[in-house]
Symmetry: C2
Amino acid sequence: MSHKALTPLSFLRRSAEVWSSKIAVIDGDRRWTYAKFGSEVQRVARALRASGVKPGDRVATLMPNVAEMLVAHFAVPLAGAVLVPVNTRLSSSEVNYILGHSGAKVLLADTRLSDLADRSVEGLDGIECVHVGSEPDERGAWAAFLDRAAGETKDLPWTVADEESPIAINYTSGTTGRPKGVVYTHRGAYLNSLGELIHSQHSPASVYLWTLPMFHCNGWCTTWAVTGIGGTHVCLPEVRGEAVWNAIDTYGVTHLNAAPTVVTTILNAAEATSLKTPVRVTTAGAPPSPTMIGHLDRMGFSLVHVYGLTETYGPYAVCEVQPEWEVLAPGERSRLLSRQGVGMIQADELRVVDETMHDVPNDGATVGEIVMRGNNVMAEYYLDPEGTREAFRGGWFHSGDLGVRHPDGYVQLRDRAKDIVISGGENISTIEVEQALVSHPAVMEAAVIGVPDEKWGERPRGYVLLKSDHTVTGPELVAHVQQQIARYKAPREVMVVKALPKTSTGKIQKFVLREEAWAGRGERIQG
Amino acid sequence: MSHKALTPLSFLRRSAEVWSSKIAVIDGDRRWTYAKFGSEVQRVARALRASGVKPGDRVATLMPNVAEMLVAHFAVPLAGAVLVPVNTRLSSSEVNYILGHSGAKVLLADTRLSDLADRSVEGLDGIECVHVGSEPDERGAWAAFLDRAAGETKDLPWTVADEESPIAINYTSGTTGRPKGVVYTHRGAYLNSLGELIHSQHSPASVYLWTLPMFHCNGWCTTWAVTGIGGTHVCLPEVRGEAVWNAIDTYGVTHLNAAPTVVTTILNAAEATSLKTPVRVTTAGAPPSPTMIGHLDRMGFSLVHVYGLTETYGPYAVCEVQPEWEVLAPGERSRLLSRQGVGMIQADELRVVDETMHDVPNDGATVGEIVMRGNNVMAEYYLDPEGTREAFRGGWFHSGDLGVRHPDGYVQLRDRAKDIVISGGENISTIEVEQALVSHPAVMEAAVIGVPDEKWGERPRGYVLLKSDHTVTGPELVAHVQQQIARYKAPREVMVVKALPKTSTGKIQKFVLREEAWAGRGERIQG
């Protein structure tokens, strides 16, 4: 008698009523209450319908972290359509591919990205590009779009017929080959949202700072989750240290999510200062180094370390903190915290398996592939049954990440399969070498790749960014690493650089470094 | 590819792995880790299977809040069976009815309740009564039961085939007529558990004190929820003020759930003292009075006020605290907090409707019936299709509770339909009169019923328990109430009594008071 389809739409239905006069969204000078947020979503959903968007159609976005991007996360599914949030840092040909592959009927593009949007829709039939602008002088196109349903006042229902139907398609960054369309369902997004509220310990008093792009795994579903708990979204179109510290101070930020490289930017900003009230930082995308964990601790941040992929709605695993860790020395505690951990409460198990799908021993040494399954894993790759079958072989989603399982059952990432360095037949985890590099007080960030070596096949090479006002030489860093970890793992050389190539979500693009290093050496041998 | 059936079983699967060495259960001198909790559950589930329990069979319990009762909450569904937790305060004929109606195949009965158990199974065929005892001298029968699967070591899977299949049947207390069997599903129990973790703000550091009986709505699903977050269960077979305060002190209790009368017992215990660290009290079962809310505040408790029924897995609604309430005077704040509020995050709407299923106006005055629906509402009454249809008429579950909706959208309980006093054609909320009575400093608890009146049909009468070392007369209390609320609502007389009749869950049994007052006056006219 009582089945009701799970959907994040119910979150805004509830918050627009329960928290009607509470601030839902802060974006520059704009302040929206939850009542206003709810009515904006209804208005945009009605305009989409009036524009010919039918249930099941795809609606893409090309927007930074602005209020309208939050609106799209609810308005598109409210109109019965599927959200395709496109990475704003892509080239027009990449955006064009995603729009074409997803068959998007509408592209909602921020006016700051109008040129990119216009170039991206070239040659595509049946797509309308709507320019979204909140500034008074930009409102023409957006206001005209909203006016399409001006006569309509009836609210669309905050429900979905089938909880297994798609709510979003998130395209992978695709460092090799074409990006894949990862299909999220209403049910999966709903359950992941509840899990994140629990693990990041959100409450209605949450003030959430948008340092993570909303186009990236729907901001790890936080677009929906923070709305569900009735917290306040603080939009941040650009992540600069000054803006982050300013927002923390001005709005009393309690939570933020960010990749470790973004955390590094925040911690090393000129404005950085010890916090008056704790801010919970949920981090993922790369393992945080013990050095960073210690730094966060001293500044008054509390860390939640999660792990996942686009295919797992963002976070799937969390490094749960055991009570007995409290009494450990900071270094030892940080080492344990830098591991990827265990499945979250709403997820299934986090397994590390060999090629025959058997679990590797809990010895912290045997490397296997990390696999996941259940409600926190995508439904499929869009229009790619073969890729889907391949990814789910044996009934589990294959992450392509290599890891070990420790005696306490915690999983630790060793490397992406393609990032591991194979030197004289030994596997070297570039993550381990990077963490040894950033433990040097002068180093802000590090990346390690394998480079050709006549004798060993490959040897690790390091690239480091230094903190301002610090100096150190490459050979000094090589010596430092040799003191931290096994000598054979130490890089032959470490280059001090001015910048590291990064994705829009702050991941270091090792393939760019590798392409330079291997140029003219033919195909790199895969391990 | 990724659908997985929702079930609370996954909570213990996870916690037995993730929190393997953390204390899961404290019961007297016993301390179980989560690894031990998980293995005990597997052992009992295997013994149930070895005893002939088949998927879908019912297994009843007659147990106070002991470790084995927690075990039963997982072992019975792990064996594929359905848990029927029976209220330990019932008479043998009442227990006999429930065992017969549910068709239970096994009764797990604590040795302290052996006599009741033995009498209760008399005349029933096909039920085995297993005596459960943890004390060394009582272990014979229990140890022999566990030995039935001694050869088996293979773990049963922590999964269920269909998330809509039943996990438990909880019988209503049935103050009139036969108790009804309320069917909970795996899906409903799972979602309600996540919702309670979020609203009561649990974390793995939770130390949860079992002041609420586990047999009552499965302890509002907290049996499952606290296990899911990896908190520590502190069992308390009997709720006395001394034992509660002792446990708070000894184990660092962070959370407890209790009906307001139990909260009154705790607050007025000789051992009561201001808390050093806050304890979150989640209360339901009757509206907490503003007086109690103020008292909790001053002692350092933080209140979560929820509302629900057996038919809604326990809590369905929560009185969310709006930020602007913080600055209100304590009395005004308490008045707002004593309302039943809004649907929880995992629930659907909380509506107040008239007889044609239209919402009453948000005027805080028009009384209607409170209705609910969705995943947080029972599947059905067991073997009672007609009762189920009647309860769900119009597609919503009819609570039988009368309430109003305030301009801010919050619902306030006025009375059970049968508790309301109709005097001279005016409805008088007994809750309102009771709250006026307990606002007198000498009064600990109050109950108000309607008694026959020649002129008005009915008039309210009050019954009060005084705090120790306090005195006040009935007429003084009548005068006190007349100063608080409309004169026509004030009771004609207030009787100072030594005890009030209560259910095992601490609800005052007004029907007992009414039966005495109406004795020899024929049928009471229903409003």
